[in-house]
Symmetry: none
Subunit: 203 residues, 4 copies
DNA sequence: CATGAATGAGAGTTCATTCAT
DNA sequence: TATGAATGAACTCTCATTCAT
C-alpha cells in the first residue's frame, strides 16, 4: 500500500541517502539474495521500520543504488575518456591504456559487478537503467570521436560494437579464464578490430 | 550428509530425469529464487521426499539441468554449424543465416536464457560449465574453419572474438533494444568484423 | 549465527520469561522429544519467530528452564532444611520428616523429574547444572551439620552418601515399586545408615 | 495395525535376532533419538520393510534389545559374584574388588548405559524390565549372602541398599566427577556402610 | 517521525511408514 | 516373503512486513 514517504528534514534526507549508499554496498557485497532488510537496517544503523517508510522493499533500495552508482561499476569508460585527446600516432597505445584502466576498475568492483550483471538479466528496470546508461556512453563516445576527427558512417553502431568488444575483453580477463586463450593475443586482436572499425572507409 | 541416493530401477531413473527436466524448466520459467523445492515436487508430481533423496538441494537440480540443457539454450551455434560447408562466395550470407537461426533459437528460450545468464554471474559451478562449453564451441569452430580452408594465425582467439560478436548481436537484438541502434546496420557491421577477422593476413 | 537477541523492554523480558516457564512446563509434561517449537509457541501464545530471536533452539529453552527450576524439582532438600535446628533427641524423627517432605515434593513434580533425570543422562550441560547444584546442596548440608555440632571427618563424602541415600529412597518410593521391598523397613534401614554415618567416630 | 509377524524360517529368525542385536547396539551408540529405522535397516543390512514386519516400531527393537542385553550393561554385579566364596577376613577386599570390576564393566558400556538410564526414566516398559532385573539381582545376592553365613533380618531391604550404594559409587566415579569429592574416601565410606549393613545385629 | 519487537507464512528438510514389485 | 523406493506430514528455522510504543 502506498505508504512510501519522502523525507523532508535534512536529517531524514541524509538517512535515506545513507540507506541507499550503504544498503547497496551491502547487497553488492553479500549478494542480493543473501541479505535481508533487517541486515540492511542493522548495517546502516537505522530501524527496520524506517526502511519501509522510504522504500517499497529491498529491491527498491537496490534499484536506487543502481541508479546512483552503476556508472562507476558498469561503465568506467565514461570517466576514463574524459579530457582525453587522441592523435593518429598513438591510437593503439591509447586504446590499450584505456582498456587496462577499465579492467583495473572493474576488478576493484568485481563482486558488485557480478551482482549487477546477474540482476540485469532478470530485472527489467535494472536492464533499462543500464541500457540508458549505455546509450549515454555511446553518445559521449560518438561526440568524443567526432571531436577527434573520426567522422565515419554508422558511427553509432560502430561505437556500440567497440563498447561491446572492450566489455568482452574486460569480462574475459576478469572472469572467464578460458584455458585455451592467450590474453595478450586476445588484447591485440581486439585492438585490431577496434582500429579496423575506426579506420574503415565503409560502403 | 551422504544420504544422496542414485536410482537403480528403470522407473526411478526416469523419475530423477523427470525432476531434472521439469524442475529445470520450472526454475527457468519462474526464476530460481521464486521457486521452492515443494513447488518443484508438485510441478513434477513427485513427493518432496524423493527430491532430497536424489539431490542435495534445489541448486543441485538446477546444476544438473544446466549440464543437460545448456547447449540448446546458451550455445545453439554448435548445432547450427553441424554439417555445413562454406565457400568464399556466399560467406556473408552463410554468416547472416547462421546468426538469424541463433537469434530465433535463443528467443524461444528467452526466460531460461536470462536465468542461466543471471546464475552464471553468481555461481562458480555454473560459470565453469559454461566456460567449458564455450571452449568446446571454440574448438569445434576452429576445426570447422580449418576444414574450410581458413588457416589463420591466432585462430583460437579470433574464434573467441567471433563467438562474442555473434553473442552480443543476439543479445542486443533479443534484449537491449537500444533506441539509437539500427539493428540492420548493426548486423552489417558485425558481419564486416567477422569477415575482417577471417580474411586478415595478420602480423 | 549470532542472531540471538536479549529483550530490553519490560514487556519483552516478561515474554522471554514466559517462554522459559511455560515452555519448560510443556516439555516436562509431554516429554522433550514429543514437543516441537511450534507447540511451545502456541502453548505460550507467542509467535514461532520470537522463540528463535530469544533462543538458539528448543534445547536452549529447556536448559534455561533447568537452570531456573531444577532446585525445586531435583533438590527440594535445600528448601527443606532451611531454618531447621536439630538436637540429638529427635534426630531420627527429623530425618524421617525431612524425607517424607521430599517425597511429597518430588511426587508433585513427577513428570518433570523424570524428564530432567532422563535428559541429565544424555546432555552434558544438563548434567553439569545438576552436578553444580548437588555440590551446592552438599556444601549447605555440611555447614548445616557443622552448625549443629556434627564435626566429623570426611564430612563432604559422608554428606554425598546421605544425599544419595535419601535420593534413592525417594526414587524407590516414587517409581520403582519393587514388589519385594517393604518400604517402611527400607526407610528404617536408610535412616539407620544415615545415623551411623553421623555418629561414626571413624578412623 | 497388527501386521507384526513372527519369523518361522531359520533364516528369518536369524534376521530378526540380528536386527535386535545390531539395532540395539546402534541405538545405544548413537542415541535413541539420533537413529532412524532406515539407519537401523542399513546398519543391519536388511530392508526397511522387514523391520516393520517383525517390529511395531523403533521402540520395539529397543525394548527387545533391553530385554536381551540389559544384564551386562546395567547389572554386571550378577556376573561378578558368580562362583565367589567369602570369609570374614577378606570381606572388605572382596567388596572393593567387586566394585572395581563393576566400574570397569560399566565404563566399557558407558554410552549404552547412559541411553538405557535415560530411557528408563521415561519409558514404563523399560523401567519394568529393569525393576524385575533388580529384583532378580537382589534375590541372588540374598541367597549368596545366606550361603555365606549372613543371616540378617531385613536382608532384602539391606541388599537393595547395598546395590544402590554400589550403583551410586559407580555412577559417581564414571560420570559426576564432583570436584569436591575424594573418590578414594568415597569408596572407603561406601564400603564402611556396606560392612555396617552386613554386620549389624539390628533391632 | 522513528523504533525494533513481534508476527506468521513459507522455505528447506527429515523420517516413520507404506506398498508396488 | 522381502525389498527399498516413495510418500507426505511434521519439524526447524527465516524473513519481509507490520504496528504498538
Amino acid at each position: 500500500m502506498g505508504k512510501i514517504r519522502e523525507p523532508i528534514k535534512k536529517n531524514s534526507i541524509a538517512k535515506k541517502k545513507k540507506i541507499i549508499a550503504e544498503g547497496f554496498k551491502l547487497i553488492c557485497d553479500k549478494g542480493y539474495h543473501n541479505v535481508s532488510c533487517v541486515d540492511i537496517a542493522k548495517y546502516c544503523s537505522v530501524s527496520t521500520g524506517i526502511i519501509y517508510q522510504y522504500f517499497e522493499d529491498k529491491r527498491a533500495i537496490f534499484i536506487e543504488g543502481v541508479k546512483l552508482y552503476s556508472d562507476k561499476i558498469m561503465f568506467p569508460l565514461l570517466k576514463t575518456i574524459e579530457n582525453k585527446k587522441i592523435n593518429d600516432n598513438d591510437l593503439v597505445d591509447i586504446i590499450k591504456d584505456l582498456i587496462k584502466k577499465m579492467i583495473k576498475q572493474k576488478k576493484m568492483m568485481k563482486k558488485a559487478h557480478q551482482e549487477l550483471l546477474s540482476m540485469s538479466c532478470l530485472d527489467k528496470e535494472v536492464l533499462k537503467i543500464f541500457s540508458d546508461k549505455e546509450i549515454e556512453v555511446t553518445n559521449k563516445l560518438v561526440v568524443f570521436l567526432q571531436n577527434n576527427g573520426f567522422n565515419l558512417i554508422n558511427l553509432n553502431e560502430k561505437v556500440h560494437l567497440i563498447v561491446n568488444l572492450i566489455d568482452n575483453l574486460c569480462n574475459e580477463t576478469i572472469y572467464h579464464r578460458h584455458r585455451d586463450i592467450n590474453y595478450d593475443i586476445f588484447l591485440e586482436e581486439t585492438v585490431n578490430l577496434i582500429i579496423f572499425l575506426l579506420k574503415e572507409n565503409n560502403n
